[in-house]
Amino acid sequence: MTVPDTTFENLRLELRRGCLTLAVLAQLRQEHYGYTLRKDLAQRGLEIDESTLYPLLRRLESQGLLVSEWREEEKRNKRFYRLSPDGEQMLRQLLEEWRSLNASIDRIL
């Protein structure tokens, strides 16, 4: 049986999904608006599509993990996001889980 070409892509996306959330939460310990957040993540080696990142920010905000405000910067209104107190706690928990998982995977490998 041959594995379809899409299988790797699907598994990769599945693997990345949780990691992206963690990265976004971690990066938003400092305030960002959508585009600069994407640029910062890309500079750190984590490319993320606009169509994935911007709705993710909205979702995390609706879950109470981010707070946002509209503010003018360089003569343009932009929506700035940062971690909420609940988000900070969630980030700590997720990082703990991430480290534990990483250590387990390392031991398995």
């Binding site: 608006y33 585009y35 606009e50 911007y54 209104n77 932009k78 929506r79």
Partner: protein, 346 residues
């Protein structure tokens, strides 16, 4: 910039109504920043082609907008297994009720074959309607469950209600199983075709053509006719079929369709002996009679005697074979039971 505005306008059409202005303003601000960055890097304004390539990379307006929609499903993954189970049962019952109702209607109608064809052609429509109603009901339940979870009754093992392994149904009795495990579709087909066969049987008294075909002409105009014992035989056959069908339908509804029970197999075979026995007990082995014995007795008497003897020995041979099979199966069942008991006692 006009192309970006057109793009945003197209995205807006697919955005959630309540938040579309807010989402669009944020999207515009992000896109303008990105465009400025690109132009600053290039040191010039983007060409129309470059602008189109960039927007293409962002994704189609519908795809971009869809990411802002909450994840939706007509029937969610929690409810879906229940939905599939109910759909299967509803469709099965629809087939059974439809077949029985139509069989009764056709039995008392005079139209015969056209009514049967008409009923068969209407069946897919009935099944689609049943499936649509079941789907609609579950979709409505899912809708209410999502929006007002506190008002919905909890479902075992799905909506957080404590679930106990001891509430699982008892293990199916596979020790009585006979033959290979069967697929659900096979078990359903067995019931459906059983009903169709029964309808066909019940139509025979009114339309003997269904059994004899063109030979019916000979049956009505030839010198011979069937003895009334065949009617007794016929109604016993109907009764055996009804019992068998009822047994299979109950098994299907109770979920015991995977393996056919050896007891069911034996009982069915034993019931099959009843019509054979009834015919074999016919007085003077008179299975076929002469229509006018006084007139045609001299001419066809010897032939009639040969036919009746042949039928008698044929029936006898069949009966012996069935009894032998029955004894063999019964012996197998008793041996297996004995072995299991012996193994259990050690």
């Amino acid at each position: 910039m006009e192309l970006i505005e057109r793009y945003l306008q197209a995205v807006k059409k697919y955005l959630p109504w309540k938040r579309q202005d807010d989402i669009l303003a944020e999207l515009r601000a992000n896109m303008e920043s990105q465009l400025e960055d690109k132009e600053a890097t290039l040191g010039r304004v983007l060409t129309q082609g470059e602008l189109e390539d960039w927007l293409r990379a962002l994704g189609s307006p519908m795809m971009v907008a869809s990411r802002y929609q909450p994840q939706r499903s007509l029937i969610g993954p929690a409810l879906f297994p229940v939905y599939l189970y109910v759909l299967r049962i509803a469709v099965l019952w629809a087939i059974v009720i439809y077949t029985v109702v139509n069989a009764v209607v056709i039995l008392f109608a005079t139209t015969g074959a056209p009514s049967v064809i008409d009923a068969v052609l209407r069946l897919p429509g009935v099944l689609i309607t049943v499936a649509a109603w079941v789907t609609l009901t579950f979709a409505a339940f899912e809708f209410v469950r999502e929006r007002f979870p506190e008002k919905c009754p909890p479902i075992d093992g799905i909506s957080g209600r404590p679930w106990s392994p001891s509430s699982l149904p008892p293990l199916e009795k596979n020790e009585d199983g006979f033959g290979k495990p069967r697929r659900y579709a096979y078990a359903v087909a067995e019931v459906v075709f059983g009903f169709i066969f029964l309808v066909w049987l019940l139509l025979i008294p009114r339309h003997p053509f269904l059994l004899f075909g063109p030979g019916m002409v000979y049956m009505t105009s030839g010198p011979f006719e069937l003895s009334p014992i065949w009617w007794t035989f016929f109604w016993w056959c109907v009764a055996v079929n009804v019992v068998q069908l009822a047994w299979r339908s109950i098994n299907l509804l109770r979920g015991n369709w995977q393996v056919r029970s050896r007891v069911e197999h034996l009982v069915t075979k034993a019931c099959g002996l009843i019509p054979l026995g009834v015919v074999l007990l016919a007085r003077d082995s008179a299975y076929i009679l002469l229509r006018n014995p006084a007139v045609e007795g001299a001419r066809y008497g010897a032939t009639l005697d040969t036919i009746n003897k042949s039928v008698h020995w044929g029936l006898m041979a069949t009966c012996v074979l069935v009894v032998a099979q029955l004894v063999w199966d019964l012996g197998l069942m008793l041996t297996q039971t004995y072995r299991k008991r012996a193994a259990a006692s050690h």
